[in-house]
């Protein structure tokens, strides 16, 4: 509350006692209102957020029941306590607590604006298991096929993301290829007419996987 008071003082330089008192009353009133609404809504909001996340993660890592949040700091993977800095990694487990896979965010500029997506990765098969577009303003009818077109989404059911022998990069970079020319499991078949958006998805995945997966290589035990 204290900042709010100071701020209001700054707004009214001619601060006689009455001015300060009125402002104080109003500020207190607002504060009380805001805080009570905040307290009241917080559980609902948290539940909403959780449900949304659960749905998103379930889509990219099928079979997830329990989720845990981690952060990949320079010193390694640590549980997310809200303070650590680094890339967020969501680990998903089935009901028995067995690791089903992880989910992470990726982004790249698409046709209209940045496309943000969540993708799942399964350490067992060393492949990407699904994507969920979190944010996109791609053109309806063209670019929006990256989350509406079933054929395109099928690319990500088991997209090869193996590490190379040295373990410092993907064995095969993930690339988007022209529609109808997909030949290898690490390639993404572009949507005809929305090559730009398709390529953005490929780029986002490749950028994220190339940096994240090598660093996770030694961390899987912590997740299990």
């Amino acid at each position: 509350m204290s900042e709010a008071m100071q701020v209001k003082k700054a707004l009214a330089p001619a601060s006689s006692f009455k001015l300060v008192r009125t402002l104080g009353i109003v500020a207190t009133l607002s504060g009380v209102l805001v805080v009570s609404v905040y307290d009241f809504t917080q559980p609902f909001i948290a539940a909403n957020k959780d449900a949304m996340m659960a749905k998103a993660v379930f889509e990219v890592v099928p079979g997830v029941v329990i989720r845990k949040n981690f952060v990949l700091t320079p010193d390694g993977l640590v549980p997310d306590n809200g303070k650590a800095d680094g890339a967020k990694v969501l680990a998903g487990y089935d009901a028995e607590g067995k690791l089903k896979g992880i989910a992470a965010e990726a982004a790249a500029p698409g046709y209209a604006d940045v496309i943000r997506l969540l993708y799942g990765y399964d350490p067992e098969c060393q492949c990407i298991t699904g994507i969920n577009v979190l944010q996109s303003t791609e053109t309806p009818g063209l670019g929006d096929k990256i989350y509406k077109d079933a054929a395109f989404l099928a690319n990500f059911e088991a997209l090869d993301a193996r590490l190379n022998a040295k373990g410092d990069a993907l064995a095969h970079p993930i690339v988007t290829v022209k529609h109808g020319t997909k030949a290898s499991p690490w390639q993404i078949d572009a949507i005809s007419g929305a090559t730009v958006s398709s390529k953005a998805v490929g780029k986002a995945l490749n950028d994220s996987a190339q940096t994240l997966l090598p660093r996770l290589a030694n961390e899987w035990e912590k997740l299990r």
Binding site: A4, V7, A10, L11, A107, P109, Y111, A112
Partner: protein, 193 residues
């Protein structure tokens, strides 16, 4: 370009998703103060200035509020701090650079509480921009606003001498111009991707 690079953020706010024409912030001054080129220029400059100031302010207030777990006061603090900072800048300007004050001064109070400024602060918070990113964003937004309002003012000065039908004079015309400008800026889609 990486989507979180400062350059990308700058270009995005400047042209690709122009702050005014695609993000719809600062529409009121864009429509209202775009009648003459020189006022539009002053408005653009003043807005850019206030944007940079408020972007910096908002960044630090947010850090402070997050640290103190007072995020629910964010909106109230943003608007209050931005308003008072601009007031201070105005006073300082009056004292140290009367010429600049004469050029921009009358616009400052008008700007303080418009949505371009608060929108900038809120968007940079929503997108978790770092300090550099915020700065790049505010520069892009200020530039984008100035660009849009200058183009608009140029067109409107030309149209002031045209035989515009009475029905389409005024706000309707400005909106249509804004629409065509917005169409034209769609050409920048995907730039830097």
């Amino acid at each position: 370009m990486q989507p979180d690079s400062a350059m990308f953020i700058f270009l995005n706010a400047l042209i690709v998703n122009n702050f005014v024409l695609a993000s719809f912030l600062g529409i009121c001054p864009f429509l209202g103060v775009s009648g003459r080129l020189n006022t539009a220029w002053s408005m653009g400059m003043a807005t850019s200035l206030v944007m940079i100031i408020s972007s910096v302010c908002a960044y630090f207030i947010n850090e402070l509020l997050v640290a103190m777990d007072l995020e629910f006061l964010r909106l109230i603090c943003y608007i209050a701090v931005i308003a008072s900072t601009v007031q201070l800048v105005e006073m300082a300007m009056k004292k140290f650079s009367p010429a600049l004050f004469r050029a921009l001064g009358i616009f400052l109070p008008l700007i303080t509480t418009n949505c371009a400024i608060l929108g900038l602060a809120l968007f940079q918070t929503f997108r978790d921009y770092s300090f550099t990113q915020s700065l790049a964003y505010s520069l892009g937004a200020g530039g984008g606003f100035t660009l849009a309002i200058m183009l608009m003012a140029g067109l409107r000065e030309r149209l002031a001498l045209a035989n515009v039908p009475s029905v389409s004079q005024g706000a309707a015309m400005s909106l249509m111009l804004g629409g065509v400008l917005s169409l034209a800026f769609m050409g920048f889609a995907g730039l830097g991707g």
